[in-house]
Symmetry: C2
Subunit: 308 residues, 2 copies
Amino acid sequence: MISVFGHLNPDTDAVTAALVYAHLLSRTGTPATAYRLGDLNLETAYVLREVGLDAPELLSSLAAGSPVALVDHNESAQSLPNLIDLDVRYVVDHHKLGDLTTSQPALLRFEPLGCTATLLLKLHREAGLSIEPVDARLMLSAVLSDTLHFRSPTTTDADRDAAAFLAPIAGIDDVAGYAMQMFAAKSNLGDIAADKLLKMDYKVFPFGTQTWGLGVVETTNPAYVFGRQSELLSAMQAEKAAAGLGGILLSVVDILNETNRTLIVSEHEAEVVRAAFGAGTQDNVADLGHLISRKKQIVPALEAHFAD
Amino acid sequence: MISVFGHLNPDTDAVTAALVYAHLLSRTGTPATAYRLGDLNLETAYVLREVGLDAPELLSSLAAGSPVALVDHNESAQSLPNLIDLDVRYVVDHHKLGDLTTSQPALLRFEPLGCTATLLLKLHREAGLSIEPVDARLMLSAVLSDTLHFRSPTTTDADRDAAAFLAPIAGIDDVAGYAMQMFAAKSNLGDIAADKLLKMDYKVFPFGTQTWGLGVVETTNPAYVFGRQSELLSAMQAEKAAAGLGGILLSVVDILNETNRTLIVSEHEAEVVRAAFGAGTQDNVADLGHLISRKKQIVPALEAHFAD
């Protein structure tokens, strides 16, 4: 049995890709089970509730040598802690290739697309498989989530085509309305603890000799997040110290206006974002303008900065 | 313009894959040029002569940031020396994933098949492209070469199917006869210098803290190679010293009888092959029985040995 899972602090693409790919593998003769590596975010919980699916089981460890399929990630810092000891048989991803290695030839599918789901749709077509309505709903939700309903600069024509193909199978007539409901669910943060809010969409990256933590809150209601600014800065300081990070950022992305105002905890982060992005900083907030994609805009600029 | 190339000390799969993939990329709107990273071996020279193609140009360096497509390899030790500084946009390979990283999301296709050409045929089908006769001949030759006409344990059903599909397009009725001509050409080593013979199909691998050089001579005439045993052992000693290797092996694979007798230069290599393969050793020769695949049998056993 192959265990299929997306990255830590899973988002809608990570969770749905695990479900859809496990189903695809099983349908093509390779029994597979989907897992998640963390709590569902509010958007993903909404999507699964609408589809009528339970969340996949939480996974925190696997025995060395277990066969696995990675979706929506490949770097060890974003995976199970003992990834290096697992038998990686399959990877379906749309991120840059990090420190992954395999002990045997494996099946790897990476494409520079907005979303893992777009690649999963392609795999169904290549295998000559019909798309079942539940899978269509999961993949459509992931496309809308990862591309912020086509607002993100990571969006490709293939993502738009995938959504147009999937919507009628998913039985969703008003795609824009459905996307808004997803984003509203994601933004309905209530009294979530500040440390949970920080970690909701959070990834760790090595830059030169430093390790940085990069959180993102994509929301239709940025005022709510900035209303909790001092709590969040404390949570960021605590995480930075506990994890021995070189820096930590929390980008608050206004989905509807496509802007990014990023929380920074010290002058060190402020200097780096000024140098890497030419961003203005004031108090504990950096204005990153329309740089709303961590993958395509934030991480490459920081990598280039630390490579100099 | 994307530069497309296979591994150092190129074999038939590496050279033909560069030609076929450069053509495929160009036909699908991405201008690309094929290169080779070393001299043609005698089999590949025979294949290109039969097809009526010139060898792709020799490439020894590229400027940092140049966009490249890797075929039939992914590890830095088997590629251009400054691979880390190149912009890897595409990889088509059937080996395990080594130390490759990409700076941006890229298109990666890895499948556990006997041959890169089998995957290239799949890419043509996915793109809805007809197979041109020259490409069919190149891909068929690569399948026969890498699988030793389906004798290698790396052979998959997909490789057999690919060859059956390609043969009529390539205009080759007698596939077995054509394979024998390829292998005879490869075995017709004449007065090739011993150091060239060692390096004809030679790859370097990190095992634990050591680096080993693993050469293979696939031949229908092993007696010829063993007739030059003392010269070859001297060339191996010299290479081991010059490259600071922890060990060096030269496997003489009898294609027709599917056996492997491997030259070893010191008691260190003898101990390792006895422990890793349970092989008998006598003087400077280890009997590796029917272990004829470096990729699937030799390298994994050495990795497991040095991991302990």
